[in-house]
Symmetry: C2
Subunit: 423 residues, 2 copies
C-alpha cells in the first residue's frame, strides 16, 4: 500500500495525538474495566477464530514472496490451538495484579506530610514487532492492563492476521468504557511511517522494538524518545573447577538445546582447565548426540576431534541455532574476563559447588540475570515470577531483564499535607 | 585551552575507557571503603579550603569576562561557610544507606529457584553542569556512593574552583582502595569534548545534564546513551472552590516567593471562579507586598488593577523569578486541562478541603509530584525523605522526581539453583 508522503505524516500524527488523549483516559480506567475487556477479548478471539484463520491463510500463502523460510512460515502460521494460547495469554494478564495505583513506598515526614510513591502508566507506547501474530494480542493486553495507550506496528508478512486479531479486540473497547484509540494498529505497511512515529516524542513516551538486529538498530538510531529493547543474548555457561559435572552436563544441554532459537539459550561454554579432561569428552558426546556443532578453542579441538576451530567472531556471536562456542579457561578470572568482553549483559551462569566461587561470580558479573547452578533458560518473566512479559531488556536503564506489567509503568509522588510550607 | 581535534577525541576516549574499567572495580567496592573516602574527603576539603578559595578568587575575577551577572557571580563565589556546607553534604551522603547490594525483592519459585532482585550501579555517568562549584563535590559523592564511575564536566567559569576541589577528593581515592579513575574531571574547556563523550555509548551508560535549557537541549539532541534530566518546572497551584483561603494564601506565597529561582517554585496560579472574588484581592495584596509581578487573565486584571494582562506565552513560561501568571477557571476540569496543557510534569498542587476533589486531582494529574494542601517547594529529595539528590527528573523513564542514590542504580536478578533445567 502506498500513501503519499504528506498524508502519511498526517495520518501518523493523527494516530499519535489520538493515542495521547486516549492514554489520559486509560490511565484512570478501573482495573475491573480493563480485566473485563481482557476476558471478553479472549473469548471473542476464540469465537471468531475462523476469521483470523482465514486471513492468516492469505498471509501464509504470500509469505514465500517476502522471502520467509520454513521456520518463519511455521511461526507465522496460526491454528485453533495457537489462537487458544493467545486467548489464554489474555486471561493470564487479566489475572495479574494491576500495577497502576500500586503504592510502592510511603512515609510520613517529620512535618506531617504524607508521601506516597504510586505506580502510574508511562503514557503512549509505540510497539514494533516482526512476523508472529500472537505478539499483537500479547502487546495489546500488557499495554492496556498497565494503563498505556499503544500503537502497534507489526510485520508486513503478518499484516492480515494482525488486522483480524486487532479488529476483534478493538471493537470491544467501547463496551467496557475504554477509549477506542488506546489500542491502534498501523494499517499502512509503508516503512516511512515508522520513522514518523519515532520522531514524535511529544506524543509517544516509549518505543519498544521486538525483532531482529536491523529493526532494533533502526529504532536506536532514529528514536527521539526512550527505547526499551532486547538487543543481543550472548549467554555463557561457566563450568567451574568445583562443578558437579553431571549437573553441568544437564544444564549445558538444556541451556543450549531446549529452545536454541531464543535469547536466553546458551551460546558459549567456558570450562575450567582443571575439569576439562573429565568434562570435555562427556559434554562433547552429549552435544554431538543433540546435533550441536561445537566451535572450540585449541584445547577443545584437541580433545574433541569433531569440533571446528572457533574464530574470534564466534565468541561474540549469538547463534540462535544448534551451535556452541567452547573455550577452556585457566582461572576463574579468565572466565570473568571472557564474559565481560563477549557477554551481552543478558544471562550468565556458573556451575559450581564452591560457595565462595558462587558468591564471587554473582558479585563480579553484571548481567540482567546471573545464575548459579541453573539453566540460562530461566531468565524469563514467567519463570522469575513476574507473569507475562513484553520482552527481556538488555538495557540497564528503567528496566532490566524480563519486562512485565510493572516494568511498563513509572511512578509519581502524591504528597498529602494540611497547609505545610517551607521555611 | 585549545586541543587539536584528533588528540581531543583520543583524550576523551582514554578517559571514557578508564572510567569503564574503574566502574567494574567500584561496583564491587565495600560500603565501608566508600564511606571512609567520603568522610576523609569532607575533612580534607575543609582543611585545604585556602587552596580552593585561592583558585575560586581567580574564577570570580574573570567571571565578568564570561558575561556572568551579579547573581551568577554570587553563586560562583565560595567562602569558608560554603566549603563547610560542601563537606557537610559529603558527610550526609556517607550516612545514607548504600543502594548497591540492596535486595529489593525476592522469592522462591515453585521449582526451588531462589530469585533475588539486587541493586547494582548503572556503570559510567557523564555529568555536565554549569557554574556552581559545589556541584562537583555533590556529584562525585553521590556517584561514588552509588558505585558509579563519573566523568565530571563543569562550566568554564568555575574551572579553577572545580579543579581545586576535584584534586582534593581525587588524590584520596587510592588510600581507600578505590580506583583512581572512578572520578575524573574533564580538564579541557573545549566544547567539542562534550560531543565526543555523548557519542560513546560503549563506555558511558548515562548522561546527566544539570543547567540551563540550551545545555539540556544539546545533550538531548546529541546523546547516544540514556539521559536523565531535569527539564522545565512550570508548576501550578490550583485554589479550588473548597479551599481554606488563609491556607491557600500562605502556600501560594511560599511556593512563589520562598526561593523563586528554583524549579519547584510555582509559576502559575489557577483560582476557581467561586472563590475568585474573595481570594483575588487577598492574594493580590500579599503578592504585591512580596514584590511579585502578576500577569493575569481578564478577570484577574479586572479585580487587580496593578496586574498586567497575561499572554498565551506567559502560561507556558518558567519565570524563575518574582513573576506569576494567574488565571480564573470556571470548573475543576478547566484547571486540569490548563495544567495538562501548560504543565511540565514537575510539581502540581491543589488547595482544597474537599476530600473527593483532592482525590480526583491526585488521580487526574500526571506529574512527578502531585501535592494536596502543601507548597510545591516540597518536591525535593531531602523533603520527600530520599536524602541528597543529583537533580529532579521531569522524565518518566527510569526515575521521576527527586533522584537520590537509589535512582542512580539499576538492578540485576541473581538466581540461585541446585541443578534446575527447563522442561
Amino acid at each position: 500500500m502506498h500513501t503519499p508522503p504528506e498524508s502519511l505524516l498526517g495520518l501518523c500524527q493523527h494516530m499519535a495525538r489520538q493515542a495521547k488523549t486516549a492514554s489520559q483516559e486509560l490511565a484512570v480506567a478501573s482495573t475491573a474495566a480493563k480485566n473485563a475487556w481482557l476476558l471478553a477479548s479472549a473469548e471473542a478471539l476464540q469465537k471468531q477464530s475462523s476469521v483470523i484463520l482465514q486471513e492468516n491463510a492469505h498471509d501464509v500463502a504470500t509469505a514465500p514472496e517476502f522471502g520467509l523460510n520454513a521456520a518463519a512460515i511455521d511461526r507465522l502460521t496460526l491454528n485453533e490451538k495457537r489462537i487458544a494460547a493467545m486467548a489464554e495469554g489474555m486471561r493470564q494478564v487479566a489475572a495479574l495484579p494491576d500495577p497502576v495505583g500500586e503504592v510502592r513506598e510511603g512515609s510520613i515526614r517529620p512535618n506531617g506530610l504524607e508521601v506516597l510513591k504510586v505506580g502510574v502508566p508511562i503514557g503512549v507506547i509505540f510497539f514494533l514487532y516482526e512476523s508472529r501474530p500472537n505478539v499483537t494480542v500479547d502487546a495489546a493486553a500488557l499495554c492496556v492492563k498497565s494503563g498505556n495507550a499503544v500503537i502497534l506496528r507489526g510485520g508486513k508478512e503478518a499484516q492480515r492476521s494482525n488486522s483480524a486479531a486487532y479488529r476483534i479486540l478493538h471493537e470491544l473497547l467501547p463496551q467496557y468504557h475504554l477509549p477506542e484509540s488506546c489500542v491502534q494498529l498501523v494499517s499502512t505497511t509503508d516503512r516511512d511511517a515508522v520513522g514518523h512515529f519515532l520522531r514524535m516524542p511529544q506524543f509517544i513516551d516509549l518505543a519498544i522494538p521486538r525483532g531482529g538486529e536491523s529493526l532494533i538498530r533502526r529504532v536506536m538510531d532514529e528514536a527521539q524518545m526512550p527505547v526499551l529493547k532486547h538487543y543481543l543474548g550472548n549467554c555463557h555457561v561457566y563450568v567451574d573447577s568445583a562443578a558437579d559435572l553431571d549437573m553441568a552436563e544437564r544444564i549445558v544441554v538444556n541451556a543450549k538445546c531446549q529452545r536454541p532459537g531464543v535469547c536466553n539459550a546458551a551460546e558459549s561454554l567456558l570450562i575450567h582447565a582443571d575439569v576439562a579432561a573429565a568434562f570435555l569428552p562427556k559434554i562433547g558426546a552429549a552435544l554431538r548426540n543433540a546435533q550441536v556443532e561445537i566451535r572450540g578453542c585449541t584445547e577443545t579441538c584437541r580433545v574433541l576431534n569433531f569440533a571446528k576451530p572457533a574464530t574470534e567472531d564466534d565468541y561474540g556471536t549469538e547463534f540462535l541455532d544448534l551451535i556452541l562456542s567452547v573455550k577452556v579457561v585457566f582461572t576463574f578470572d579468565e572466565a570473568v574476563q571472557q564474559i565481560r568482553r563477549y557477554g551481552s549483559g543478558h544471562t550468565e551462569a556458573i556451575i559450581t559447588q564452591d560457595y565462595a566461587t558462587a558468591k564471587r561470580f554473582t558479585k563480579m558479573i553484571d548481567a540482567a540475570a546471573v545464575m548459579v547452578n541453573a539453566s540460562t533458560r530461566f531468565n524469563d518473566g514467567f519463570e522469575l515470577g513476574l507473569g507475562a512479559e513484553i520482552g527481556i531488556s538488555t538495557d540497564k536503564f528503567h528496566a532490566r531483564g524480563p519486562c512485565g506489567l510493572r516494568e511498563l509503568t513509572t511512578y509519581k509522588y502524591i504528597v498529602l499535607g494540611d497547609g505545610q510550607i517551607r521555611s
